[in-house]
Symmetry: D2
Subunit: 385 residues, 4 copies
């Protein structure tokens, strides 16, 4: 029983604000559940929409007090920073182009930031944000949420311990199908608008998740890539399918596929890693198990909380094996680990953490940027600068 | 995006108390997460252990105020009933034999009860509790949590709509392996002690879940059964494996297997239903899809939130298809639906609900009782009285 | 590469006759492919139908010489027994009620018999055939073909070696859906006619396969059973669904389900065996792997020809791992092993063999008989006499 | 029952010779089983090894008459062509570099050729062989055996009928793990020797299968590709892992991965095709089903012989659904279809056929050649010339 482990850490909840995530938004509600799941945060303030009307309506619907509902993130940052009992952390869940200005506003006031991915919509913004984070006393967390899955932690640990030997080949893919035809809902619109989403379409929205996951598990970073991006749906301004060949510093090679036009795929993120001594395979849609094959032996099915899982990962899971955990629990792991870090930081301590931050964010935007540059040059090899 | 649906219902959280669920307990923490997930409850009081010391310690660890931490459920029931701002509902998560007295204490004071399964440890208690519930103005909910899974709701709806035709055959099984050898932890101990667990071992702990699920999906109730229960681990006082043949009023027949000694099974609950026109299959360990085969056609994989799911089930899921939900979300669905009912009840209204209650609880204890009686008579057919 | 193993045994093919298996038959063609696959038999004679006209037509279509095409098995038995270069073995692939007289006719003349299952359509016939086989110098083989699958051999070996410890629980099932509605083809007609099929319907046609497989893998035999057989399709004269509780001499218990009315199941034979130390699981529809879980460890996927398979099983597979073998190869294994035995017998030698024979046949008919008797007495426990 | 369909075509078996396939060979035995399975061929002659001693020994082991066992294919071609009752067709199953001279020798004498893939070890040889085939009256078949699987035929038909709409994206992969470490058996040795295998390693041995399958199912041909080939095992002279980006004439794009160093993969060939209206997915290791998802609908599991399979494919399968067929049956389909063509050709008729031939062989060698050239130029785009 691992439930005690997560709850035992509970002290007073962290006062949280939110930028974005109002009515019709998707990822905001996910962040709120993730924050709430282990009882480590209390949502007390919000600038939930760029439309003041919607911001008010959404704030009230979430039970925020009137004077903690803001029409803009600037206003919220300024006032909360001065408020006794103001927010300790803020979740930024807006379209990509707002990440940079919003994060900067809070970092400047030493309010901890939990920001959705990708870090920013441009590489220039990403570099500026990295500097802002460095200059701030506050912590910065990036919700590459798939890194919160217990079996992804197990995979990382297997690689780290050398169970796979030196890594040779990485296969990672993230196909979806929801943009197979033109869509006119809010989610589709900003994601296919380069001004809000950034130059990458599928490569920015989900390719960057796939790339992050591959790096997280293997501990490697790509040095160069060749990308062939396509836009299949007429009139769309960003890519909806991408093929990327990767070369890593260590000599490992990879293949990455992302797509939003692959019928039959919902969020079919899959990672496979092969080394000199073994291989592993994980599927996001069935995240509670991990296949590990030591070369020359029968494959093993390692299950979340089961006999094959490392005891050191107990704090990443809440319920016994065979009772599935999912996306929200993985997401919540990042929030809960961020809470641990925030409390430690407030106490003048440091705790080790696997929650992605500025570095991973910068790496992700570099990946997107290199993909777009490479594809524009007929899939020439590009350094991830 | 279905997230709005759940959150839009949010108003002031329901004040919740808890009986049981202190340190080293398992299911208490699950109930707390389920209550918290959609923000519909606030835990404000607890009698968390039958040991006063542990009750105090556990209450403080959960952040309860000192005067809301009780040493016994009786004390909590009495005081909270009189308290302005006292609890509106209580979650009972003790070993089985405490369900009856605890539930009675709160029902008597018209405090809504959310009780873990099985209803009670004896059929006599179950009948008395049914009367207590009838006499009370409060609502009674039983957390047969697997009924909260969206794809189980989908399965039920397919049967109800006639997509399978008249039901002929039900196959349901719930194998585990954790009691393959003797265990000495708290969870194992009370579950294998007839005084606390009731006469059924595996059949009471998990067989009753399997039976409930079969009835929930098909709308049928067994009229008689023949059970062959075994106790494989030497010294154990209750069954750890059970084989049950079922006959339903409608003429349908079923087979039920429950086991705690089947190595390789974690919580491998599986339901299959076959009718004159089609069949369906669902696995708890991978709960986000449902296989439905209309006779004479290719099987279809219906996914949670996907194209094949009924739009009327939108409120049972929080995130888009392909991002898995699990055990906690299904459990939370019952809590959230109970919250809807409680608020409606307080407003003098009624809302339809699929959350199991007294009737399902009574039916479950009848099932256990009949299994034990049948097995004692060499698997003779017994009516579910 | 194991191909050499099977082919290296090739010498002159065995001269084979066939009874039944003419036009519109199903299993006859399967036997012919199985006989041909490893090149160990040559079909040279046939009494392929009880209709002389169809017998002639079918014989010519298969390229038999005119004087080796017979109108009846009696005629074939008599003449071939006297013929120089007459058949050495005969395959009997008729409806069940013909198995006994046909087998007897050939056994009497010391021609080896390869007979389809079940052994006979009545228990009385089965006992007489057992005596006939004992009295004959010829060998008798029964094509319980699923025993020929390499991973079933692997499963048997794991049990035999004690990898599962003492067996406690056996779950076996064989659901199909082809008789969900009334059918009027030849296959359906004789299988639902008690005069030709025997008293068992689904229990005789496929339940007996399931029972045989459970016994083959575990080495156990049931001492008693309780069966609840149903006939769901109106007008059908034999059962089309059966639920059976099994008790084995050793104390193990089992559950067996067979059905021909379970939409979505083609030939979904599945076996699971659980012991004190581990469990295993095998699916006929995906027969190239076997899941083995030592209690307290991660499950292992043992693949046909892969690293986890026993080297001693090399002769049961023809191609490398990952290239699937199927039903015909498993069936062919029995034919090829029978050929080894026949050649050894002709040379005055004996070879160990796992091919089922009279004993397994008798055991199967006893199973069917006990199921029918039990069901007629409201699922009372019956000894397998 | 589809068995009649295959056997009804039986007439006198075709007299077959074999080049290669002696002791210790792998694919020769597979060809022999495939030829034998439907009874359409009789092996009567062989030049089974380049070592005369082994050729003699192997021929005798296979029961060939002494005067039909040859020490070289030249000798066999010459003598059989003159022999009354000489071979009508020859199977060439040697290492790649012998394909060209051997095939030429038989084509020149108008003996039909069934040749293993890839067509030749060099592009120059492939072009010469194409001319030789054109000049011959004999037929030429190339055993890209995966095209023989019934569900691959079903996939092709779905694409052809427009069920997927215009094809956008193709994902194909063929990972193995047997060369993860250095191997010293016969199979490994010639496959990693460029003189015998050709310049491609994994890309020639299995990448070409993957490419062929993608083209077979979609009806498309790649116009250009960019390949990043690696050789991970020290000292190996050819690639053991390859990443290839594909561009098709139609505008479709593809990604192809082949590997012999991916632990946990046996012969894990997998094809996924996505179009404007739907997607499909097929796994060679579980070849009896095909997942087809019309966009916006639930995925469908089409099974071999099941309700969703096209009736026109009945002749590609021998047994009812749910009884798995595998690699040998798919391989046999090509042999049987080649037999139909040979007999038709001998009768002066033509029959439509899906068996790959010279054109597909040439296309495959062009693919290998372009991969090797591209990789040598740092994965620059290369035309498939």
């Amino acid at each position: 029983m691992t439930t005690d482990a997560t709850e035992a850490r509970v002290d007073r909840p962290i006062r949280l604000g939110m930028v974005g995530g109002g009515k019709d938004a998707f990822i905001g509600a996910v962040h709120r559940i993730a924050a709430r799941l282990d009882g480590r945060y209390e949502l007390v303030a919000g600038a939930l929409s760029s439309s003041p009307e919607k911001a008010q309506e959404s704030g009230r619907a979430l039970g925020l007090k009137d004077d903690r509902i803001y029409d803009s993130f600037e206003e919220m940052a300024k006032r909360e920073a001065r408020l006794k009992g103001g927010i300790e952390a803020v979740a930024i869940v807006t379209p990509n182009h707002v990440h940079y200005p919003a994060a900067k506003a809070f970092l400047k006031r030493n309010i901890h930031v939990i920001c959705d991915k990708p870090l920013t919509s441009t590489l220039a913004d990403a570099k500026k944000l990295a500097k802002a984070a460095e200059a701030s006393e506050a912590l910065f967390f990036l919700t590459h949420n798939y890194t919160g899955y217990p079996m992804i932690r197990q995979a990382r640990q297997l690689v780290e311990e050398g169970a796979l030997g030196k890594i040779r080949v990485i296969q990672v893919e993230y196909p979806q199908d929801w943009l197979t035809v033109e869509q006119h809902n809010k989610q589709a619109e900003w994601r296919t608008d380069p001004a809000r989403s950034g130059l990458g379409g599928s490569v920015g929205d989900i390719g960057t998740h796939a790339y992050n996951l591959a790096c997280f598990v293997t501990g490697l970073t790509a040095s160069s890539l060749a990308a062939d991006l396509q836009c299949f749906v007429p009139g769309r301004q960003v890519d909806d399918n991408g093929h990327v060949m990767l070369r890593f510093d260590s000599g490992a090679r990879g293949l990455l596929w992302c797509s939003q036009v692959a019928p039959g795929n919902e969020n079919n993120l899959k990672l496979r890693v092969y080394g000199e001594k073994g291989g592993l395979e994980w599927h996001q849609e069935n995240p509670n198990s991990l296949i590990f094959t030591p070369f020359g032996e029968a494959a093993r099915i390692i299950t979340r909380g089961g006999a094959g899982m490392s005891a050191s990962l107990a704090s990443t899971t809440r319920i016994p094996p065979g009772h599935p955990e999912g996306y929200l629990e993985g997401f919540a792991n990042l929030y809960t680990e961020a809470a641990d870090q925030i409390r430690a930081h407030q106490a003048g301590k440091q705790v080790a953490s696997l929650v992605p931050g500025i570095e991973e964010g910068l790496s992700g935007v570099r990946f997107i940027d290199a993909c777009v540059r490479s594809s524009a040059k007929n899939a020439a090899w590009m350094q991830l600068e």
